[in-house]
Subunit: 432 residues, 2 copies
């Protein structure tokens, strides 16, 4: 049999992050100050973000060196394996070759650690003692708890209420790494109390949880806020994924025709895709890059491309992005990590300019796929990641129709070990 | 920093299992027929086991080839990584070098897949259509469900009642791979119904669950029984672990002074340790090999070395092993995989002859260790595997006292992603 796992040695781990801002055909629209609607002064962001992260957010350097201390932590799970989905190909009877990058090997179970480690590190270096954040499905909250534990920072996580109760053991995992988790909206912030009073039964949303985490960071000494997706520096930190994929595919002398990632805020998609968009911008190759989102929260496929707030309380800068409106509360689907009203400005711009495509799927068909994948490839996917698998399968089936030996690459961004309650609902027929 | 992960390419995966029966200083005592107490005729085992597995159980060949079809499935996660525990060493201020083999990378989350794939494969080849088994913590039941899914066999799992309720998502995982799971004692067997009538509140035990699974296999057409530990052929299949470790340590020019594994039935310990016992028997090296068990089920440290039944209902052959008595029901500790009254005849013999050592730890100190490990190395260990970590830490602390630069190797046999309820109990102070 041909190779199943393509692996890299530690010394082949990328030493730089790739910043696509240096290569975009036209500059990205700047974030606006929520009070003046004028381009924001970087200093205005310092109450909530570490300076180095603000610098990276606005940087036009093409490559940014990864500090040795961050590489040392990355070594615990990076480089991550690239798998050839032999079993899945066989079942689909497709001539396509399906490769998937597996980010679930990180201790927290997803790609999120690529940026949580970086964000905690820079904050530690600048004297921050406590970080706040929001989390949807809990992948990001787990990743930040792990990172804060490494760099000895306190960690407060506002977890979207619907996910908090859907995935009880995510909270246990964060607690194990020393994180302090509350369901959002919570009574710990003024904005949380307001929402609780107005809508006591709300499932919560990432927009609300972000407002709480930002308010908390501003209200407390030596405390900063961190975000697990959307922002340029977050997407930047994820580019190690695509850089590794490229080296791994070179080992087997392949280049992808289609690169696929699920998309909530856009960081795992950017992480795997931007390296291939770069080749496209340089005229070297022409891989299609596809964003996959839930039909229940169709930001890229049905939203508007305009300036909007990142949060519900209108505390964050305005970002130019695809959005469903910052007060939109998506239904409580099980892919909690994809329930965001907006999207990464980088991903949004690439979609708007036709450099990236977007598709959406219903929850039921995504879970059908998750089960099919677990029964062929073995790995239990996170419901979020299963969106990418669904799209890869559709591409493989299309290739069967046309007989093309396409090379497909998708990001299996995380495992579903903490999503078993959702699988239970699927099997008992209770999934909406 | 020195290397963190030592990895091997797929083509460096061992192609043979190592059978220590060929090398023991004196022959192992044979299994006895439960009716006659005479050495059992291999054919008497055919109603419950596949013929090839019986052949392997009694084989005196030193190496047994691993079939290509099994290697193809192993490729999904093998070779598994060997980690150097840099962070843990730093925290312990030890001159010892601590290495751990991580078997949690298999889709089912533990070393158990090394044998479940083999057992399902041989049964499939011989025309078996359905497999039965018992499971404690659920690691083995998950691994067998995964394997049966690959080779298209039906799978019935009798899960020890206390674990069934402690770890609800283990059942979900088995269901996802198509396994049919019931809590044991169950009403599906005559023996289960008898126990339920006599002791309606029993937490169950591996001994009871084995009796049910054997009864079921005998009672149904084209059905065989499989065991996840204890037997020679099971230990045999696990020897890929130690063979990989040896190659990985050679890469960094090390040889272990101490090799450590937790021990319930003994398969993960045998898997990592026998390769080093072989060197010891050949006079090449002199690594100590240490079995670590829970004080709540101290088979090797406090049991007797004698013939005993493998199950409670006295249906299995008699095995010469350390035992607490086949009607012993250990307390419902959270390391459900270590709650077995007996032990592998191979491990038992090695302990009896002074070629292996055994120690035991209390549940509380094991969980202290599990938390310390998660907070230093990141990975959340299964409670079973944490026993091995505890012992490695004690060896590292002893090395700090003596100043010796010892090389320690332990088997991190599985992750604890499905054991978070036990971690919750630890944090809430409810652990006995």
């Amino acid at each position: 049999m041909e190779q199943t796992k393509i692996i890299l040695d530690e010394n082949e781990m990328p030493k730089k992050w790739y910043n696509i801002l240096a290569d975009l055909p036209s500059p990205i629209d700047p974030p606006l100050d929520p009070r003046t609607w004028q381009p924001i002064n970087p200093e205005a962001l310092e109450p909530i973000f570490a300076k180095e992260l603000i610098r990276q957010e606005m940087s036009s350097e093409r490559y940014i060196d990864i500090p040795e201390e961050i590489l040392d932590v990355y070594r615990l799970w990076r480089p991550s394996p690239l798998f050839r989905a032999h079993q899945l190909e066989k079942v689909l009877k497709t001539p396509a070759k399906i490769y998937y990058k597996y980010e679930g090997v990180s201790p927290a179970g997803s790609h999120k650690t690529n940026t949580s480690i970086a964000q905690a590190y820079y904050n530690m270096k600048e004297g921050t003692e406590r970080l706040t954040t929001e989390t949807g499905a809990g992948q990001w909250g787990s990743a930040l708890s792990l990172a804060c534990n490494y760099f000895e920072l306190d960690c407060k996580v506002y977890m979207v209420r619907s996910s908090y109760y859907q995935k009880p053991y995510r909270k246990s995992l964060m607690t194990l790494w020393g994180g302090n988790v509350v369901p959002s909206p919570s009574s710990d912030t003024a904005f949380g109390r307001k929402i609780l009073q107005e809508q006591p039964d709300t499932p919560g949303s990432l927009g609300i949880a972000i407002s709480e985490a930002v308010e908390d960071a501003i209200a407390h000494e030596n405390t900063k806020y961190t975000l697990g997706s959307v922002l340029n520096h977050v997407v930047l930190h994820q580019t190690v994924i695509g850089a590794e994929c490229k080296k791994q595919l070179e080992q087997v002398e392949e280049y992808p025709d289609v690169v696929i990632g699920c998309c909530g805020g856009g960081s795992n998609l950017g992480g795997i895709g931007l390296e291939f968009i770069k080749d496209r911008l340089e005229g070297k190759h022409n891989a299609r890059v596809v964003a996959v989102e839930p039909s229940a929260c169709p930001t890229l496929t049905r939203g508007e491309y305009r300036y909007d707030f990142g949060d519900t309380a209108e505390m964050t800068p305005l970002l130019k992005m695809y959005t469903l409106g910052h007060d939109h509360v998506p239904p409580a689907i099980h892919a909690g990590g994809l329930r965001y009203h907006g999207d990464s400005p980088i991903i949004s711009k690439l979609c708007a300019e036709g450099l990236m495509e977007a598709v959406s799927y219903d929850q039921k068909e995504v879970f059908d796929t998750a089960v099919q994948f677990a029964r062929t490839e073995g790995i239990v996917p996170a419901p979020e990641s299963a969106h990418a698998i669904r799209c890869a399968i559709d591409e493989a089936l299309a290739a069967r129709q046309t007989g093309e030996e396409k090379v497909l690459l998708f990001n299996l961004s995380g495992h579903g070990h903490f999503d078993m309650a959702s699988y239970d609902k699927y099997f008992s027929g209770e999934l909406d």
